[in-house]
Symmetry: C2
Subunit: 228 residues, 2 copies
DNA sequence: GAACTGTAGATTGTCAACAATACCCTATAT
DNA sequence: ATATAGGGTATTGTTGACAATCTACAGTTC
């Protein structure tokens, strides 16, 4: 029952994983809005598959935290409150700081590889800023930080950060005005990269913390506490 | 939408979550050894249920990382290498340090509540050390650190740490001689508690780092490198 | 004897049907 | 009019059967 549709083939990799990845991407891109219900059956028919794999994928996303499941009611896209934003960014500081340490301890070679990847992302980001493509900017923003963490090579750190990145994109997408300080966005990331290459550990830590704190301010400042 | 304060969750996710919790507990207690395969069918019949819920539980544990799934082959208990130990404890340092900061920032009230819980755990730990009940010691060790993190109130941090605690227990259980420095075990945890109560942020960070580093030394020192 | 191929067994992956449950809407009584 | 009880409906939760796939073993050939 291969889908004649445009979505990729099974390709010997776990099906549920593929579905989960597609779903996650659609969620962080806003195809599904916060609070919206996701129906197993309709999703299964859309993907030309059965409810089994779809169910597994949904459960996976529930455990990641970007979906919430209510018993016998269904799964819904996570609704983010201000407290969630603070939590997410607090954990991001922890993860990225740890990644920074691990990266600097790993040696110049690894730093070099990582900074090359980061430089390319910053370059792309500058282009998208020029044309104000918000979705692309959000994607590249997360791609920068994900690559940064990935550079440390700690698989558990990477796994943790994957969820945080998804949640962050949901924050940015759903909480109205995403980047009020777009003029300094590229500059801030360039600063992080410079500090990494220079090996200034303490300064890098401080920069990461500031970067996240200002993000929290931007996000919480543009949002009224939405408690239903 | 105020939640009724009196009654707790009436089993929000009964079956799969229940099975997963049971499985995880058995895994960290060594009922299933590392590398051992877990059969869906036999587990289902043992639990008097179908393969569906069992499969969901297994997938959940796969995503947590204490099981690994090989396509069309089955799920196996995670085999920990020395690199894994270093990873786990590096992330634990990050999480606990962040929890410590959040706890100290949250105010004296929250610190008080947490330290009371920790004190009780240390007390129990001392008793179990006296009778050399290793499994109970390992459980209380993790309970201490889990309660510490839980005290910070960051749900994402707590969720992350749950997996780390399980993996740590697997390390301790599976890597032969668990606690070579049992005489200072209680003392070390008491030290962490004292620093928390005193509010010595920097000292607490250093103590957490030392605590984890010596744990890594103990674990990797008693293990022969089993890398293919 | 070694290497290759084909078959057998077992286990996971997938599917469609059945059952259980929570919510919504209506009817009824106070 | 409000509150309450009852049935209807939609959705998830569960089940057993079927299909796909991988490993291992045996048989055959050079």
């Amino acid at each position: 029952m291969a889908a004649p549709e445009g979505l990729f083939a099974l390709e010997g990799r776990p099906t549920a994983q593929l579905i989960a990845d597609q779903l996650r991407e659609q969620i962080v891109q806003g195809v599904f809005r916060p609070g919206e219900q996701i129906n197993e059956s309709v999703l299964a028919s859309q993907l030309s598959t059965s409810r089994g794999p779809v169910r597994e994928a949904l459960q996976r996303l529930c455990q990641e935290g970007i979906l919430v499941s209510r018993r016998n009611r269904g799964v819904f896209v996570l609704e983010l409150a201000m407290e969630d934003i603070r939590e997410i960014y607090a954990v991001r500081v922890a993860v990225e700081s740890t990644a920074a340490d691990a990266l600097l301890d790993a040696g110049q070679e690894q730093v070099k590889d990582t900074s090359q990847a980061l430089k390319a992302i910053i370059s792309d980001m500058a282009k998208q800023v020029a044309v104000s493509d918000w979705k692309a900017i959000a994607r590249l923003d997360m791609q920068f930080h994900t690559s940064f963490v990935a550079g440390a090579g700690n698989t558990r750190l990477i796994r943790i950060y994957k969820t945080l990145a998804a949640e962050s994109r949901m924050c940015i997408l759903n909480l109205a005005v995403a980047y009020p300080r777009i003029d300094v966005l590229v500059q801030e990331h360039q600063n992080l990269l410079d500090l990494l290459e220079a090996g200034h550990r303490e300064e890098l830590h401080k920069a990461i913390t500031r970067h996240m704190e200002s993000a929290v301010e931007d996000l919480t400042g543009t949002t009224e506490e939405g408690s239903p």
